[in-house]
C-alpha cells in the first residue's frame, strides 16, 4: 500500500511512493465501507470508488494517554512458483517461496494533531520499503524512509568472467587473455565456456534512504528540506569492440554499477492575499565508485597499425571510462501577483538557473606501454598509455541552464479568460572544446625525402601535435590522422561537439464559457529553438489548438481537441560538423583519380534528423465519460496522431499513433464492484535510407555529372550521386499493434472478500522493408532477407486473486493466488542462447560473442496464505 510521499511532492523531485507489487494487492482486498451512501460520481461523471471500511468516531481505539491508534500486520507463506527467476517476471519485484512479511503499519494520533506513523513491507526482499513519519498535522512533519527497487535485466547471461560487479573482471580458467595463436581454438573455447556457464542474472538494486521535514509556520508561510541518498549496485549488459575502425570481435560484457546519488532539496512558499511566492533549491551529487572498468578479453586482437611488444597477444584487456561523477544545482523562484481590480488579472513569473558539471580525470588511450605508429614519433611524456598523450587531463564539462517563464492572465469579461504566455529555456554548454590531439607527438616526415624524425606537428585550435585518437585500447590506428596511412583523409575525428540550445515559446490562449457547462478554448503558440553545432541552427514550430469541454450532454462529459503543429527551420546542413573532422585543416585533394569520400560524404543529404526536420503534425483527441446508470459509468477515448516530415526524403518520413480505449465501472453496492477496460493502440514509423555505394572519386563521371573538387561534397552526399545510388534505396515500416484488456471484481461474500484482477496485454511489432534486389541487398542474400523481420511479439497475462476471511474482528486470513505468464519473441535474440558465439569464419574473430540469451517466456502459479492482524 502506497504511503506518504517520502521525499518528493507533486512539484519537485522523485520519490513519491513507498510500496511494492504485493502491498498494492493486499490493499485491494480490504473491505469497503458498507455504510457509505450510494455511489456518487466525480464532476466529470466517473464513479467514485467506495471508501475503505473504517471505525466510527466513537469506536476508534485510544490509549490511556489519549493516543488514537490503528495498525495492522500481514504475514504468511508463499508457495508454488514464487521462486521463479525469469528476468521479465522479476524485472522490478522480488518474491521467494517461504515466509513473507508483506506489510505492516501503525498510526498514532492525538487530539492536538500529533501523529506518529510507521509502515513497511516486503521485509528482507529487494523491493522492501519502510517509512516513519511523525509530527503535528498542519504544523510540521518529519519523514524518514528507506526503499529498494530491483531492476533485473537478464537471467540468461553466460558469464566468462569473475567479479561481474567490480571494476576488474578476469576471465574464468580455460580462457586465455589476449587469445592464442589459433582464433579457431579461441572461438571453440569461448563457445564451450559460454555454453557450459550457468545462467547468470544481471541486475542492480536501488537503495534509497532519506528524510524530509515539512514545516507550516502559518497559513502563509511553509518550508521544507529534504535529504536522500541512493545507492545503486549490480551489473547490466554492456559490450566492447576492438579493431582498426571499430567493429572487430564485439563481445557482450557486463557493466559494473556502483553509484551513489545524494539529493538535497529545500524550499519555502508564501501565500497571502494577492501574492504567492515559491523558492526552491535542489542539489544532486552523483558519484560512480567504479570510474574505470577493466575486463580481460579472450580473442587474439591483431593490432592494426600499432606496433606492440609483444607483437601478438598484447591486447589482453580492455578498459572503459564509465559515467563520471557529476554535480547538479538548481535554484528556482516563482511569483504570482493577482490584480483583482484590473480585469481580475494575474501575473505569474518564474526564473530558474542551474548547472550540471563534471571534471573527471581522463584516462589514457591504453594500458599498453611502448605502442608505436609508423608515421608518428612520440616525444618524452607523450606515450599513448599516459595522460601526456591527451590535450588536457580532465573533462571540464559544464552546462548552465536558465529558465524564464511569464504568464499574464486577464478576464476581459465574466465569460472570457485570456492568457499571454512567454517562456525561455536555455541549455548552455560551456564545456571547453576537447581536441583529440597528442601534443607530445610529432609526425615522421611523410615525404621520405628527409632523413630522420621531424619535429613537425599539425596546428589547430591552439594545439600542435598528432591528431586523432587511437581506437579501442589502441587496437586500431584508423582514428589517428596519418598514423599508418600517409595519405590525407578528411574524416578523422579531431574535436568533440559541444551542443547548446535556446528555446523561446510565446503565444496566447483563450478560454470562453459558452454556457454554464461548456467551454471553448483556443491557443496559438510559436516555439523557436536555436541549437549550436547541429545540422539546423534554428527551427520554429507553430501550434494551433482548439478544445471543447461540455459537461452537460445529458449525463455525459465530452472533451474534444484538435491541434495542428507545423515545424520549419533554417537551412539544413548535412555536413555541419566539418570543424570536428580532419577536413577542418586537411584540404580536399584536387588530383583527378583521388578518392575524396572522406571529405565529400558526411550523411545522405536527403536525411533529416527527425527532431530537427520539418514536420506537420495533427493530433485529435476525443473523450466521453457518461453515467449509463447511477451505478455504471462508461469512458470512451480516442486519439489520432499523425506526423509527416515533408522535408525528409530519407530518415524518418512519417510517424503516426492511434488509440482507442473503453472503460466500464459497475458499482451496484458496497458489496460489489466490477470493472473492465480495453485499449487498442496502433503506431507506424516509416523510414528510408540508401545503402552506401561507390566512392567519390575526382574525375569520375557520376549519374549527376563529372566529379570535381568543387562539386564533390554536393554530389557525394546527394541521393542519386555516386555514393548514394538510387538503386540502393530501401525503405522500412514499423507497424505496431497493442491490445490490452482487463477486468476485475471485488465481491463481499458474506464475511469474506473476494478480489480478482486480470489483464492481458498483447504487443506486436512488424518491420517490413522494401529494396531493390541487386541494390540494397544482392540476389543471394535476398533469399534470406525476404521482406520483413520476424514479428517482435509479447503476450503478458496477469491474474491476481485473493479471498479474505475474517476469523475475528482482528484476525483475518487471506488466500492469495497469482497466475502470470509472458510469451516473448524478439528476433534480436533468436537462437542466441544456443549460439552465443556467432562467426562467419572460424579463423577470424567472431562476428559477435553475444552472451545474453535475451528475454524468455515464463509461466508462474504461486499461492500463499497471509494472515492479517489488526490492532
Amino acid at each position: 500500500r502506497a504511503v506518504a510521499s517520502p521525499f518528493a511532492t507533486s512539484a519537485t523531485g522523485s520519490g513519491t511512493t513507498l510500496a511494492n507489487k504485493e502491498s498494492a494487492s493486499a490493499a485491494a482486498s480490504l473491505s469497503s465501507d458498507a455504510d457509505w451512501p450510494a455511489a456518487k460520481h466525480t464532476p466529470t461523471g466517473q464513479l467514485l470508488k467506495l471508501p475503505l471500511a473504517v471505525p466510527k468516531p466513537d469506536e476508534i481505539k485510544k490509549t490511556a494517554s489519549g493516543w488514537e491508534y490503528s495498525g495492522q500486520l500481514e504475514f504468511g507463506y508463499l508457495g508454488g512458483d514464487a521462486d521463479e527467476r525469469n528476468a521479465q517476471y522479476r524485472m522490478y519485484q522480488d518474491l521467494d517461496e517461504g515466509a513473507y512479511l508483506n506489510n505492516f503499519s501503525l498510526l498514532l494520533k492525538k487530539a492536538d494533531g500529533a501523529f506518529f506513523n510507521v509502515t513497511g513491507g516486503g521485509a528482507g526482499h529487494r523491493d522492501q520499503y519502510y517509512g516513519l513519519n511523525f509530527g503535528r498535522t498542519n504544523s510540521w512533519g518529519l519523514k524518514l524512509f528507506f526503499s529498494e527497487t530491483p531492476h533485473v535485466f537478464t537471467d540468461n547471461y553466460k558469464s566468462l568472467w569473475s567479479g561481474l560487479t567490480t571494476g576488474t573482471q578476469l576471465l574464468i580458467p580455460g580462457l586465455t587473455p589476449g587469445g592464442t595463436a589459433s582464433t579457431a581454438a579461441d572461438t571453440a573455447a569461448v563457445t564451450t565456456a559460454a555454453l557450459n556457464a550457468p545462467p547468470t542474472t544481471l541486475s542492480l538494486t536501488r537503495k534509497r534512504a532519506g528524510a524530509r521535514l515539512d514545516v507550516t509556520f502559518s497559513s502563509a508561510w511553509k518550508a521544507y528540506a529534504g535529504y536522500a541518498v541512493e545507492h545503486r549496485e549490480g551489473a547490466r549488459p554492456f559490450a566492447a569492440v576492438w579493431g582498426n575502425n571499430g567493429g572487430t570481435a564485439p563481445i557482450e560484457i557486463a557493466e559494473p554499477v556502483d553509484y551513489d546519488t545524494t539529493d538535497i532539496t529545500a524550499g519555502v512558499s508564501y501565500v497571502r492575499d494577492l501574492n504567492a511566492f515559491n523558492f526552491r533549491w535542489t542539489t544532486s551529487l552523483f558519484e560512480n565508485k567504479i570510474d574505470t572498468f577493466t575486463f580481460q578479453q579472450p580473442f587474439r586482437i591483431t593490432p592494426q597499425g600499432f606496433t606492440t611488444t609483444p607483437a601478438a597477444g598484447a591486447y589482453t584487456q580492455g578498459r572503459f571510462d564509465l559515467y563520471p561523477d557529476n554535480q547538479s544545482h538548481n535554484a528556482r523562484a516563482e511569483y504570482t501577483r493577482k490584480f483583482p481590480d484590473f480585469y481580475k488579472s494575474t501575473l505569474t513569473a518564474v526564473v530558474s538557473a542551474g548547472t550540471m558539471r563534471q571534471n573527471d580525470n581522463l584516462i589514457p588511450y591504453t594500458h599498453l606501454a611502448g605502442l608505436t605508429l609508423p608515421n608518428v614519433t612520440i616525444l618524452p611524456g607523450g606515450d599513448w598509455n599516459t595522460v601526456g598523450s591527451l590535450s588536457r587531463p580532465t573533462a571540464k564539462g559544464l552546462i548552465e541552464t536558465r529558465l524564464a517563464d511569464l504568464t499574464f492572465s486577464v478576464n476581459p469579461s465574466a465569460d472570457l479568460n485570456v492568457k499571454l504566455k512567454g517562456r525561455f529555456y536555455e541549455n548552455d554548454n560551456n564545456s571547453d572544446p576537447y581536441y583529440a590531439v597528442n601534443p607530445n607527438a610529432v609526425y615522421v616526415d611523410a615525404d621520405a625525402a628527409t632523413a630522420g624524425n621531424q619535429t613537425r606537428g599539425i596546428s589547430y585550435g591552439g594545439f600542435t601535435g598528432v591528431w586523432g585518437r587511437p581506437l579501442n585500447d589502441a587496437s586500431g590506428s584508423g582514428g589517428v590522422l596519418f598514423g599508418t596511412n600517409p595519405n590525407p583523409t578528411g574524416s578523422v575525428e579531431i574535436a568533440n561537439h559541444v551542443y547548446s540550445s535556446k528555446q523561446f515559446r510565446f503565444g496566447p490562449t483563450a478560454d470562453y464559457s459558452l454556457t454554464n457547462s461548456a467551454n471553448l478554448n483556443l491557443s496559438a503558440e510559436r516555439e523557436t529553438t536555436q541549437r549550436t553545432n547541429r545540422e539546423r541552427a534554428r527551427t520554429w514550430e507553430d501550434r494551433y489548438k482548439i478544445g471543447l469541454v461540455h459537461r452537460a450532454l445529458g449525463d455525459s462529459t465530452l472533451r474534444a481537441s484538435y491541434e495542428f503543429a507545423q515545424r520549419r527551420g533554417s537551412d539544413y546542413v548535412t555536413a555541419y560538423y566539418e570543424n570536428t573532422f580532419s577536413a577542418a585543416f586537411i584540404p580536399m585533394p584536387t588530383a583527378v583519380g583521388t578518392n575524396v569520400t572522406s571529405w565529400a560524404v558526411r550523411n545522405n543529404s536527403g536525411v533529416r534528423n527527425y527532431e530537427l526536420s520539418d514536420r506537420d503534425q495533427h493530433v485529435a483527441n476525443l473523450r466521453v465519460d457518461t453515467m449509463l446508470r447511477a451505478n455504471l459509468d462508461v469512458g470512451v477515448s480516442v486519439q489520432l496522431r499523425e506526423s509527416r516530415y515533408p522535408g525528409a526524403a530519407y530518415g524518418r518520413g512519417k510517424e503516426s499513433g492511434d488509440s482507442a480505449n473503453l472503460d466500464l465501472n459497475y458499482q451496484p453496492s458496497a458489496k460489489q464492484n466490477i470493472y473492465a477496460f480495453y485499449s487498442f493502440q496502433r503506431s507506424r514509423i516509416r523510414q528510408a535510407l540508401i545503402t552506401a555505394g561507390n566512392n567519390v572519386t575526382l574525375g569520375v563521371v557520376s549519374p549527376l555529372g563529372v566529379i570535381t573538387p568543387e562539386n564533390a561534397a554536393t554530389l557525394g552526399s546527394q541521393p542519386g550521386g555516386p555514393f548514394y545510388s538510387l538503386g540502393n534505396s530501401w525503405s522500412a515500416k514499423n507497424t505496431e499493434h497493442n491490445h490490452v484488456v482487463g477486468a476485475g471484481v471485488k465481491q463481499e461474500l458474506g464475511k469474506a472478500t473476494l478480489n480478482v484482477d486480470y489483464s492481458y496485454s498483447l504487443g506486436r511489432s512488424r518491420i517490413t522493408y522494401h529494396y531493390g534486389i541487386g541494390g540494397a541487398i544482392n540476389a543471394a542474400n535476398a533469399v534470406f532477407a525476404g521482406y520483413r523481420m520476424p514479428d517482435l511479439a509479447t503476450d503478458i497475462s496477469y491474474l491476481d486473486a485473493s479471498l479474505r476471511f475474517p476469523f475475528t474482528p482482528r484476525l483475518s486470513a487471506r488466500l492469495v493466488y497469482r497466475n502470470q505468464w509472458e510469451a516473448i519473441r524478439d528476433w534480436h535474440y533468436r537462437n542466441l542462447a544456443a549460439t552465443p558465439v556467432v562467426t562467419n569464419n572460424v579463423n577470424n574473430p567472431p562476428t559477435i560473442t553475444s552472451l545474453d540469451g535475451g528475454p524468455s517466456a515464463y509461466r508462474v502459479n504461486w499461492f500463499g496464505v497471509m494472515f492479517q492482524i489488526k490492532l
Partner: protein
C-alpha cells in the same frame, strides 16, 4: 435550455482573507460542523479519518479551517432550509456530478487553502483548461486512498481513469516500475500544473530524467546530440514493445538519422539474424548498434568519439 450562468467567482482568496462569503451558497451563513454531522454521520465517519479532518479539527491555521465541513462546502444555512430539494443545491458547494456546482466554484473552494505552492501553475494548466475539478482526482471526504485523498486507491490508478493510453503503455514488455508500485505518475508529472509541457516537473525532459538517471547527466567529453537534446528522441517514457523503452527496434531506431558511410545505411534484415542466413550481422543481433557503440549516452573516454569506450 442551459442553466443561467452564475457569476464567475473572484480570483481565489488567500487563506488569510477575511471570512466574507459573498454570494456563495446564495448568501448563506455558517452553521458549524455539529449541525452538519447531525445528518451526515456516515460522511463524518469517513471524514474523521482524513488529513483534512485532522487539520481542521485539531490544528486549524486560520478561521476558515475552523469551519471544518463548511470550509470546503461553504456556509450551510441555506442548505438547511431545504436539504433534500434538488432546486436548493446551489445553496451548498458540492463536488459531485450529481450536485452540479460549477467547476470554477468547486475549485475556488480548494484554492482558498491550496493556491500557490505546488499548485502555483494550476491556472492555465492542461488540466485546468480541460475544466477538471479538483474533485475529479481527489475525494477529501473519504478514506479511499491512503495518502493524497484520491478518488482511487493510488496515484497511478487515479491517473489511469483518464490516461488509458499510459495504462496500456505500462502493460508493455518494457516499462517504468510503475505497475510494481515503485514509482508513481507524480514522480515525473505535476498534475497541478507546470511551466513545462506535459506537466513535467522539471524545466526540461532531460532534467527530469536525470532525477533517477543521474549518471547520464554528464556533460560528457563526447556527446550524442539527440541525447543531449531530449531523451524522448529515442525513448518512449511510459512503456514500449521494445527493449529499453525504445520507440522502435534497433538498428532501425538509429537508422532514422544515421545514413552516413560504411555500415550505417545498410539494410539489416531477416537474413542477418542468427539462423536467418549465411551472413549474420552484429548489427542485427542482441544489442544491435550498441554491441559496439555501447556508451551511446555519451563517453568520457578520450577515444570515445564513436561511443565505443
Amino acid at each position: 435550455q442551459p442553466a443561467a450562468k452564475p457569476a464567475k467567482p473572484a480570483t481565489a482568496p488567500a487563506a488569510t482573507a477575511p471570512m466574507s462569503t459573498g454570494a456563495l451558497n446564495n448568501g448563506a451563513t455558517y452553521v458549524g460542523e455539529a449541525v452538519c454531522i447531525a445528518c451526515h454521520q456516515t460522511q463524518n465517519k469517513q471524514f474523521t479519518h482524513t488529513l483534512h479532518a485532522d487539520a481542521f479539527r485539531k490544528n486549524p491555521q486560520n478561521e476558515l479551517q475552523q469551519k471544518s465541513c463548511e470550509a470546503c462546502h461553504g456556509p450551510g444555512s441555506k442548505h438547511l432550509s431545504n436539504p433534500l430539494d434538488k432546486a436548493n443545491r446551489p445553496s451548498l458547494v458540492g463536488f459531485t456530478k450529481e450536485w452540479g456546482t460549477p467547476i470554477a466554484v468547486q475549485n475556488n473552494q480548494c484554492l482558498q487553502c491550496h493556491s500557490g505552492g505546488n499548485a502555483m501553475h494550476w491556472d492555465g494548466s492542461i488540466h485546468s483548461r480541460n475544466q477538471l475539478s479538483c474533485a475529479d482526482c481527489h475525494n477529501p471526504m473519504a478514506k479511499i486512498s491512503v495518502t493524497g485523498l484520491l478518488k482511487k486507491q493510488s496515484i497511478n490508478e487515479t491517473c489511469y481513469t483518464c490516461h488509458q493510453q499510459q495504462r496500456a503503455d505500462f502493460a508493455k514488455r518494457s516499462h517504468m516500475p510503475l505497475p510494481e508500485g515503485k514509482i508513481s505518475c507524480v514522480d515525473c508529472h505535476n498534475p497541478h500544473g507546470s511551466t513545462t509541457k506535459a506537466l513535467v516537473k522539471n524545466d526540461s525532459v532531460n532534467e527530469l530524467c536525470y532525477n533517477c538517471h543521474a549518471e547520464k547527466r554528464g556533460p560528457f567529453l563526447w556527446e550524442h546530440a539527440p541525447v543531449r537534446d531530449n531523451c524522448l528522441t529515442c525513448h518512449a517514457p511510459h512503456g514500449s514493445n521494445h527493449d529499453k523503452l525504445l520507440t522502435t527496434a534497433r538498428p532501425f531506431q538509429c537508422q532514422q538519422c544515421h545514413g552516413n558511410t560504411n555500415h550505417q545505411p545498410t539494410l539489416y534484415n531477416a537474413g542477418q539474424i542468427v539462423g536467418g542466413g549465411a551472413n549474420p550481422s552484429t548489427r542485427a543481433i542482441g544489442r544491435s548498434c550498441q554491441n559496439c557503440h555501447s556508451q551511446i549516452h555519451g563517453s568520457n573516454h578520450p577515444a570515445g568519439a564513436r561511443f565505443q569506450r
